[in-house]
Amino acid sequence: MSLVVDSMSVWHGAREAVRGVTVGAPAGRIVAVIGRNGSGKSSMVRAIAGVHAGRRSGSVVWRGGDLMTSSAVIRARSVAYVAQRPLVAADFTAREVIGLAGAVVVRSTEHVERAIEALGVRDLVDRPFAALSGGEQQRVVLARALAQHDVGGLLVLDEPFNAMDLAEQHRVAGALQCLASAGSLVLVVLHDLALADALAHEVWWMEAGQLRASGPREAVLSEAALGSGFGVAFERVGGSLRPIVAPRCETPAG
């Protein structure tokens, strides 16, 4: 295992959001972290990426080094992270935002250019970041993470497909698969279980702060388990997982 999480707990104030999670993954994989809202997915990946500012315990070992005790600079050399809601409180262009990858860790122009190509944001780079759509901003921030990321490193993404249209999702998913093929470990929080099924090699399923299940995608994403865990029925059509969405009014208004 390249990534080993051992007995990790994470607190938000007095509330224990993640409780003693032990799990691991080899390099060269895409791991989808799934679970209902408030199950502890984001808290767990933030702690793994070393960006949770509050109390935490346990250890996160990546290629032999403990990420929980490393300095920010050393961690930035091996882990790149994209937040659920990116914030850029300055009038930067998209290129300047991508260039932040080299704010502390030395990154060459080639790194930045490769990331721009991989995410297909060449036509956005001279535009103000604030003027981009939500999906475009998300792609630019992902390009920044890719520019920071060394092949073979750890990439942690918290719901990166938010606000992206289908074409953007397809492009980004392809880029993540290329990274995993090249030896990187991609840890990605996803709400879209069909996308998790199509993209991930392995799945970690969080429930109430604990790991409900982990393992190969086929083993974890069974229709029966998902139906009981998410309260929505699932079916496989031509090998693809999809929820059976049939909303109906159960509590009449008025």
């Binding site: 600079v73 914030l87 409180a89 932040l100 704010a103 103000p128």
Partner: protein, 326 residues
Amino acid sequence: MTIRRPRAASWLLIVAITAIAAIVRLMLGARGWSWPTPDIVDLRVGALVSAAVAGASLGLSGVLLQALLRNPLASPFVLGLSSGAGLAVSVAALAASWGAAWVIADGGLVAATIGSALALIVVVTAGRRHGAIDPVTLLLAGVVVASVAGALTILVQYLMPPSSRGDLMAWAMGRIPELPERVPLVVGAVLLVAIGWWSIARARWLDAACTADDEALSLGVDLPAVRWRLVVLSGALAGSSVVLCGPIAFVGFVAPHVARLMLGAGHRGLGVASPMLGAALLIAADALRLAVPLPGAGKLPVAVVTAILGGPIFLWVLRRHGGRGA
């Protein structure tokens, strides 16, 4: 919309603005336009250097504060740092008048730095809601700290011996000294160069600090350490400018905004351009008050001129950004 900033032209313009402001100020004296003859040239150069050091310190302090708080409205005056420094220097002067002369042996620099840093800590602490800095609450906290510090400064002035009261009152209204005291001027200049160098060397850290806390951490920036440094350094700059020229409004707010409009948001450029424009602004305000005396009232205090010029710009930025990220 794409952004392509003509950087060379912008730099030329900034240098030209600063040079023209300096030349105009050298040509102006208490009696209006006149050539700086040898008997008065020292006075004009003294005022020019004082305004340059104080204005540049305010311009740089504004850049650091706006990076610290991720808020385009932040500046030493708006957040109460100048008032805090003014109160601390007034208290030190009062203590000196009661016999503790050592308190103000350095010209009041240490007192001013402590006063401005304390004001910033109070404002940032009071400006937090649910663990995060709320821009509107922060501004209100700054207004309250500035008001209370201003009122206490007036109280201290009443407690001063009548012989020293006039000087303190003139300083508290903001004035550019023609014969500046050597220690505050030299220490202020050294602080400005040292902190300016740090700001340029660490410009990429400041760029990264404009992202969310978790993203900045993931980029390798040790945010808690950087933030403490920014509190101390911006406080020291605001304090040294207050010691030199008294509390001056809006220079630390306007200079970073003009620099950003001309060069973009990168801190490598802002770390140089904002101090230059801060110096140019304060020199120009001093020249303006000399060139346009108020009928019946003589020369205005320079802080009144900067407030009249800076206030509308502040309201424009407030309206444009609603107090949130730049």
